[in-house]
């Protein structure tokens, strides 16, 4: 395995671990919120919270292909920012508009 290929894998794996946090929050919300909300569960919002972290990682991995290590890190970090931002937004929506966990 060449050095650049090894670096690319290293960056991808490190960010996979970092992307696990917003994915965990998304899955956790999807499991916990329906118990509180019952019939008012915002399913679309909760599903978005799970889909976006995965889509952001896959999208970042595709865009980062063939780039320099620095650009790879920037692209993955931007994707992580999107994943974290969407997760926080989903929770803010759930708390303020659906009065969940209140």
């Amino acid at each position: 395995m060449s050095t650049s290929r090894g670096t690319a894998w290293f960056i991808a794996i490190v960010f996979a671990v970092l992307f696990a946090a917003p994915l965990f929050w998304g899955v956790s919300d999807l499991i916990e919120y329906p118990a509180y909300a019952g019939g008012r569960t915002p399913w679309l919002l909760l599903i978005l919270g799970v889909v976006v972290p995965v889509a952001a990682y896959v999208g970042a991995a595709l865009v980062a292909r063939g780039r320099t290590p620095l650009l790879r890190v920037v692209v993955f970090a931007a994707g992580l920012g999107v994943a974290s931002g969407v997760t926080i937004s989903v929770i803010a929506w759930a708390l303020s508009r659906f009065a969940l966990l209140g």
Binding site: R67, A78, L80, G81, V82, I91
Partner: protein, 162 residues
């Protein structure tokens, strides 16, 4: 014996012009690109590069100038919007609605990191789009629009909406 030319001696006029044409394209100075772009010709042949530059110069300038202006305009408008997104996220992460959902370790630490990443997400997206879409205005516009939709600071928008 003939005296050697010193670095301070003025170069013959014709040679200087030829060098300039061979090593740069018209408009490079305005764009801050003073370095030669021989690699773009593929074979790295300076003579071929100069001839190619001469042939395509007029056509290239006509095509590139509006595109560069449009790309620059999109970058400036995008910069303003993404600055607004960043400010929105700086406010958002301070709101009670974005407090850590769980108190047990390592929840709050990971949550704080997530809020920090969300805060710097907009400038990172902007930087990545600028670097990756050089010379492609439509693509730049599309990626800016996608980032704008994904990075909206909902916590502060919901707070403002009441």
């Amino acid at each position: 014996m003939e005296a050697m030319a010193r670095p301070t001696d003025p170069a013959p006029e014709g040679d200087d012009d030829l060098d300039d044409e061979a090593l740069s394209w018209a408009g490079d100075e305005e764009q801050g690109r003073a370095r030669p772009r021989l690699a773009a010709t593929g074979d790295g042949d300076p003579v071929g590069a100069a001839a190619e530059a001469d042939d395509d110069e007029d056509l290239d300038l006509e095509e590139r100038a509006p595109r560069d202006v449009a790309g620059g305009f999109v970058a400036v408008v995008g910069g303003i919007l993404y600055l607004a997104l960043t400010v929105g996220w700086i406010y958002s992460v301070q709101l009670p609605v974005t407090a850590a959902p769980s108190q047990g370790f390592p929840g709050p630490i990971v949550w704080q990191f997530g809020k920090f990443v969300a805060m710097i997400g907009a400038p990172l997206w902007f930087g990545a789009v600028i670097v990756l879409t050089r010379g492609r205005v439509g693509l730049r516009l599309g990626w800016f629009a996608l980032g704008l939709a994904l990075l909206l600071p909902w916590p502060v928008l919901l707070e403002l909406a009441g």
